[in-house]
């Protein structure tokens, strides 16, 4: 029982990191970035490449991967989303789906990584005993790291002027331009942060799950469910939604059937949206 609690916390932490990036980008750009899962998948592969190719340690590999994906995400904003900023909303959405498929096909290519799954070995193997509850070091690491990253993000958004520009732009884009905020720069920065968060999340969970080209699609479904659940663009909504989904999946899987874990998660989404269509944290406008 307590063990399941830790499993849910670890899973929720990973979901939260990925969902936070997605919700920040939605808030600032008003575009659902369907390529977000692709960035997540790329994060896992970059970590794998750094570990096996550069033979660096787990933490430097994770940081390199976060930086690499951040850079790519910022580039994606410039090259794909920025030119489409005045086009109908469908255009950037389709472009984003295109990016997702492109990244997946690129990674699956035999000359790149190939379609087979890759394994990242746990940086801290073994288990730890916490007052009778045994859990793996990796899960503890996930929980600690995701909490740390979320605290850092919160500090950045709430306590720094640069962070405030992200919130300002998501609350009133025109108002942000009128006070002299360069919205292009904020857009790129937000994309970079969302890419880094996705890469960190992917690198944290990779030693538990296998690294595959399609891992991004699966995650995409879940994080979109989460931010719709929490309210599109809401930061607390993304965190609460992430843990809600993780707890439903883990405990649903434990008490009912592991095969039904995803079914139960999405059933919860349907129920919540039936009762509160705007999501949990979106102001009813």
């Amino acid at each position: 029982m307590l063990q399941q609690l830790f499993n849910a916390l670890a899973l929720g932490g990973v979901y939260a990191l990925v969902a936070l990036g997605l919700t920040l980008v939605y808030g600032v750009m008003r575009v659902p970035n369907f390529a977000h899962g692709g960035l997540y998948m790329l994060g896992a592969y970059l970590t794998y490449a750094a570990l096996t190719g550069l033979k660096v340690g787990y933490v430097p590999a994770l940081i390199l991967s976060a930086l690499g994906v951040a850079l790519l995400a910022a580039l994606m904003e410039r090259v794909i989303f920025h030119p489409l900023r005045n086009a109908p909303h469908v255009h950037p959405m389709i472009a984003a789906i295109g990016v997702l498929f492109f990244l997946e096909a690129l990674i699956s290519h035999p000359k790149v990584f190939g379609p087979d799954f890759k394994q990242i070995t746990e940086p801290l193997p073994g288990i730890v005993n916490l007052g009778g509850v045994t859990l793996t070091w990796q899960r503890l690491l996930i929980i600690a790291a995701s909490v740390l990253v979320m605290l850092g993000l919160n500090y950045f958004l709430k306590r720094t002027l640069t962070g405030a520009t992200i919130e300002a732009m998501s609350q009133n884009r025109e108002g942000a331009r009128l006070v002299g905020i360069n919205t292009n720069r904020v857009g790129m920065l937000t994309f970079a942060i969302s890419g880094a968060l996705a890469a960190v999340a992917a690198s944290l969970i990779a030693p538990i799950n296998a690294v595959t080209p399609s891992m991004g699609e699966v995650m995409n479904l879940k994080v979109f469910a989460i931010i719709i659940l929490g309210g599109m663009g809401s930061v607390p909504g993304a965190i609460v939604g992430a843990f809600l989904l993780a707890f439903t999946e883990v405990f649903g899987g434990f008490y009912i059937s592991l095969d039904f874990a995803d079914v139960i998660g999405f059933a919860m989404l349907v129920v919540v949206l039936a009762l509160r269509p705007q999501g949990l944290f979106r102001k009813g406008t």
């Binding site: 919130e167 300002a168 009133n172 108002g175 009128l178 006070v179």
Partner: protein, 235 residues
């Protein structure tokens, strides 16, 4: 000074401003009277760099305002308090004000000083400074919007319909604050439908109709002009 020469702005096939010529001298309060859809907000959006003109020029002390980069306009001393206020509703009043000073982010001491001045100008905001801006009354939100524009330390303040939807007593407070701001040396261009309140503090004025200036004159000229009296003063 603000110098507008043959400024033409189009939205697709619709021409919102027809070769406008207008100037505002340093230290003046100039009012721009006009009904809804006359082009007041279009002019202001253009002067802030949010809208690019199809032709003509607009300069402040020789610096072009039509480069399409709003942050450069703010940095060269032109700040706008827009119609509808466009505040950041979930951020605190103080954060809204601090973001108003975004172009002066490398001068925190100056920003702290301006913050003091903003609270001196609108003491009602002091006790609300940690409240989300969106939770304030309409009049207080208007004060936040004006104060936010002032945080950019403008030489030219563009005020778009500050009295819209406010109670008469609040309108009086807002206009007296504008007058005090002007006395510190800030040039003010004020767009209004509430002609009486606006003319009472203005030095000069223009009347904008269907994207064209149809009348201009001093405060006295406009106050006594029959067309203005019937169309905007309701006399």
């Amino acid at each position: 000074m603000l110098e507008i020469r043959d400024l033409t702005v189009r939205y697709g096939a619709f021409t919102a401003l027809h070769a406008l010529n207008l100037s505002v001298q340093r230290g003046e309060i100039v009012v721009l009277l006009g009904a809804n859809g006359a082009g007041k907000s279009t002019l202001f959006r253009t002067l802030s760099g949010l809208q690019r003109p199809a032709g003509g020029s607009a300069t402040w002390n020789g610096t072009s305002l039509t480069t399409g980069r709003p942050e450069l306009n703010v940095a060269s001393g032109v700040a706008q308090c827009p119609e509808g206020r466009l505040l950041f509703p979930e951020l605190s009043v103080e954060k809204n004000l601090r973001l108003g000073a975004f172009v002066h982010r490398r001068d925190p001491a100056g920003t702290a000083r301006e913050l003091e001045r903003a609270y001196d100008l609108f003491p009602a905001l002091i006790e609300k400074r940690h409240a989300p801006a969106g939770s304030l009354s309409g009049g207080q939100q208007q004060m936040v919007a004006i104060a936010r524009a002032l945080m950019a330390r403008p030489q030219l303040l563009l005020l778009d319909e500050p009295s819209l939807g406010l109670a008469p007593l609040v309108v009086e407070q807002v206009f007296s604050a504008v007058q005090r701001v002007n006395e510190t040396g800030v040039t003010v261009l004020l767009a209004e439908q509430n002609a009486f309140a606006a003319l009472s503090i203005a030095h000069r004025g223009y009347v904008l109709e269907g994207g064209r200036l149809t009348l201009e004159g001093t405060q006295q000229d406009l106050m006594t002009d029959d067309r203005v009296r019937s169309a905007y003063l309701g006399v």
